[in-house]
């Protein structure tokens, strides 16, 4: 399973010109981390056959974060485009994990992963 993640936005319009991103393949991760990632993806409810990715909403939300998640598994690609007002509740633990991993990677591991 491959996961690609990108986020930007928020009050500070952060990461617009240098999106905060994280990419991982369960083949390359240590066993425990691979299992964790796989479990979070499965529990997120995102891998539903035939589910269409969310369109970028044109609502009235301001200063929210935007997230893009791509999961490649079982020969299929699942692609999602959320903001803070449209993330499905079940997918939050996955997003929190990916956000922490992305921050950890960019800061060279100087911030602890949660």
């Amino acid at each position: 399973m491959q996961v690609r993640f990108q986020m930007s936005g928020g009050f500070g319009g952060l990461f617009a010109t240098a999106p905060l991103s994280y990419e991982a393949s369960t083949d390359d991760l240590p066993r425990q981390e691979a299992d964790l990632l796989r479990r979070l993806v499965e529990e997120s409810g995102l891998l539903v056959a035939g589910q269409r990715p969310s369109a970028r909403p044109r609502g009235m939300a301001r200063d929210v974060f935007q997230y893009q998640v791509q999961v490649i598994t079982g020969g299929r690609t699942y692609w999602y485009d959320f903001d803070d007002t449209t993330v499905p509740a079940r997918a939050r633990p996955l997003l929190d994990h990916l956000t922490a991993a992305a921050v950890h990677q960019r800061t060279g591991g100087s911030t602890e992963m949660t």
């Binding site: 930007s8 010109t17 240098a18 999106p19 905060l20 939300a61 301001r62 200063d63 911030t111």
Partner: protein, 378 residues
């Protein structure tokens, strides 16, 4: 239960400005009689109260407002609410309104975020009333709901179209979103914009949307802190930077592009001039990026006037004359015209319109007109 603004359902005015040819409206707007001009503007503004109609009226309203020469626009009167605050503790859930912890007038809870949010929203609400004559964000006393401890280490504060949410941050990168007045006033500013110009949140209109929120943020903060244009730091988001971030703030209105340089956030991307206008797709085509350009213009006007509050009042009047698709040039011209009208009404000093034009010229949005043969010196 979410209270809908009371005016939306019943003030669809039957005077259909969009059926009257623009040139007639324009002529009426220039009528010598002030009551005629005011009536035209009020009618156009009533129709603006319905968001779906605004795009149809954009040229008309801009003509009317700019040519009416009216110093002040007041929103259509209607039934009023009391702008009551309700603070909800979301207990680190990704849900709003989990537990109501403080109603308007109730005693402090002892939770720093809940009590700060309550106080600072009150400061902003009271500023809107006292200094701008505005009754809450919709000018009709809309209640203000605040959600603190929203989400898990949510490094953000946001306006979701109806109410505010505040995360806890992670204590290292970002902290105290609910305890920062400029953040709170910025978010409430999005509400004010939603009920006035309703600037589309992308491209230049979106950058203006962000800009007006930063303006309200800094104007309210400076007034509350007793600062002046000369003594203020002109920073946005300086109070939410955690110990692990390298930078003064998230934005500087005085010097866009200098607020931070950090391994996580990289470098502040804001331009201070149209020459460095961001043309990419990120951030809804740069709404938080290109806002730096009009932010710098506001800083110049406030500094040149020596009066941030006066500049804030001018900007508030200008906001009410804008429409959802306004771009930088339109906003600048509306602000120049509004400054002229406010000067005539004795609300701004002589020369204010020239100060505004000069500021927008300095950031590359407008050109200054120079008489032939006159050499300009810097």
């Amino acid at each position: 239960m979410i209270r809908q603004p009371a005016h939306v359902s019943h003030t669809r005015h039957r005077a259909r400005c969009d059926f009257i040819p623009p040139f007639i409206i324009d002529n009426l707007a220039r009528d010598d009689r002030e009551e005629i001009r005011a009536a035209v503007l009020a009618t156009a503004h009533q129709a603006m109260a319905s968001r779906t109609r605004r795009s149809e009226l954009e040229v008309t309203i801009d003509q009317v407002a700019a040519s009416a020469g009216l110093a002040e626009i007041s929103a259509a009167p209607g039934p009023t609410g009391e702008a009551n605050r309700e603070v909800y503790d979301c207990h680190q859930k990704w849900e709003k309104r989990v537990e109501l912890v403080r109603r308007e007038g109730a005693d402090p809870t002892g939770d720093a975020d809940a009590d700060s949010a309550y106080d600072l929203v009150g400061v902003t609400r009271d500023f809107l009333k006292k200094e701008l004559g505005r009754n809450s964000i919709d000018n009709q006393g809309l209640d203000l709901n605040l959600n603190v401890h929203y989400g898990v280490k949510y490094m953000n504060a946001a306006w979701d179209g109806e109410e505010m949410v505040f995360g806890d941050g992670d204590g290292k990168l970002f902290i105290g979103f609910a305890r920062s007045l400029d953040v709170i006033a910025h978010e409430l500013g999005h509400g004010v914009t939603q009920y006035t110009a309703n600037l589309n949140y992308e491209g230049q209109s979106g950058a203006l949307n962000e800009h007006f929120s930063d303006v309200l943020g800094t104007v309210v903060t400076q007034a509350h802190n007793g600062e002046t244009a000369a003594t203020a730091d002109w920073l946005i988001g300086d109070e939410i930077m955690g110990p692990d971030l390298q930078g003064e703030a998230l934005r500087s209105m005085r010097a866009p592009g200098t607020a931070y340089d950090d391994p996580l956030m990289r470098t502040d991307p804001q331009p201070a001039h149209m020459d460095l206008y961001y043309r990419g797709d990120a951030d809804n085509r740069g709404v938080h990026i290109n806002s730096g350009i009009p932010n710098r213009a506001f800083y110049l006007v406030a500094t040149e006037l020596g009066d941030t509050l006066a500049a804030g009042r001018l900007w508030y009047q200008g906001l009410q004359r804008l429409t959802p698709t306004a771009d930088f040039v339109t906003a600048a011209e509306v602000l120049v015209n509004t400054a002229r009208a406010m000067t005539k009404a004795g609300q701004l000093p002589k020369g204010a319109a020239q100060i505004v034009r000069s500021a927008f010229s300095e950031v590359g949005i407008l050109k200054l007109e120079v008489a032939p043969g006159v050499r300009r010196y810097r």
